[in-house]
Amino acid sequence: MGSKQKLGARGEEVVARYLVERKYEILDRNWRIKGGELDLVAISEFGVIAFAEVKTRSSLTYGHPLEAITRDKAYRLQRLALAWLAVHHKWGFEYRIDCAAVIVKDGIKFEIDYRAAVL
């Protein structure tokens, strides 16, 4: 695993913990099919399924992490979410697509900017 991948994995871990703290249950991680990957799938205590895309950056030199999510990427997330619901027989569940930006400060501190239902 390269350092970039490691950073990404740590970012996802941090967001997963963030969600668990807020009474979410993690249903799936790094669910991959042809056409893309879902970073995190979690269900809230109210039964809403959240598909979270996590973007981790070690600095803001290249702009805000969430700026990396283009319109095409957003549509892909939408399709992947529907695919996940179909595969896991969760039709009828309320769902939303979230984005989380993780910024690593000084190499140790993780700052999370979590935005729910962005699409």
Binding site: E67, D113, R115, V118, L119
Partner: protein
Amino acid sequence: MALAITNCVALTGLAGNLIQVEVDISEGLPGFTLLGLPDAALSESRERVRAAVINSGEIWPNRKITVSLSPAWLPKSGSGFDLPIAIALLGAQGLLPSESLESWAYLGELSLEGNVRELRGVLPAVLAAKKFGVTRILVPAKNYFEANCVTGIEVIGVNDLREVINLLRHGVAPPEILAPHSNFNSESSLDLQDVAGQLLPRRALEISAIGGHHLLFIGPPGTGKTMLAERIPSILPQLTPESALEVTAIHSVAGNLNNRSLLSNLPPFVSPHHTTTSAAMVGGGSHIIKPGATSLAHHGILFIDEAPECARGVLDSLRQPLESGSVTISRSIGSITYPARFMLVLAANPCPCGKYSGKSRGCSCSQLSIRRYLQKLSGPLLDRIDIRVYVEPPSRVEMASEELGESSQDVRKRVEIARSIALERFAKSSWQLNSQIPPEALRKQFRAAKAGMNLLNIELEKERISARGFHKVLRVAWSIADSAGHVVPDESDVAEAYGLREGLEFLG
């Protein structure tokens, strides 16, 4: 916090609309959406505003930004919205006090560095803002003096975004703007005394200036047609303050203020080249409809040298403004009307070689080519020209004379007196100049003395003059009477007017 509103002005021709610039910042993916029919330059606003805000040391929100320019149905163009968008964006983040946003208006293009750049059409925009009740407007420093021509509204000139922020946040006034050194004089630098001899054309010039009559000079090259025409502004009465403001506003929209001093009361003199297109002549353009030469010459003179060399459509495009005093230009983005009330002065050679004068004086052109040459000036256009004179080459005696001709100042005094007589006579009418008297008024209260009318009636009977020509001669006769101090044009006034209008027999 997440919403802020401020004001800007969008111009449609000379008329302005107050535009509300609303910025909403909401949760969601970072993005910038601009609503309200922006054109290409305005759509690029996003990148300019972003760089300017960041480079001015302010925060760019990494959130979903929605900018709405309302009324949304009105197509908007240009870069003047950069500043209000930036200000509303900072206001929406709670970084600026909101009361200074909603009641003020802002105009300005931003550079990436955060400088506020100059714009076209600031003067009419400020006029519009005042009309809509805006009490204070911020404009680019370079447009400050232009904007400040408008009274009854507080104008602040700013150099960069930082100054605007400091003003709004801390009440720090931006540095005072020094008046630029003006190279322009309100007085024309040209004087009629430079012209040697030319008694008949001088007379024609003076009568046209009195009545606002359109004028045609025909003559060989080098006889002074252009010289005479260029000196017309120096004998016309100065513009009234309202007219001067109107003229400055048109030049502002055309982005032409560098060629003219602000609120100059010198009537404009515009001389488009004879290869000009109709779009340049009457105005045009696909995204922004700019005023053409006819509107730039509003309240002044439109001089077309070598008129027969013009493309025929171009000259004929003058007919609408000559008739109505305004031009309406329609394009896919809409119709715009610009004022265009000018005195038309045409100059032409009598034939392709230029030497024809009715007598053969070394002219090498065939009769056919002479006829064809002047036929390029279409009948309907020529018919609208009240005074047509032949400009002879000055004689050797005139050229050798050290005596200067009469000065413009003296002529202008006479023109002003004659015009004031006419104004008094037209006090109860809707027109102000002799050239504008409608035909029915010419038949009733503005007839010439009996002997004069007889003279014209005989010419009419012999079909030497058209009905329209009949009216034109009468109008010119009124101008001559005013210059001579006659209460009603007498026989000699009418005869002179007839000569000035119909004297050029070879025009056909």
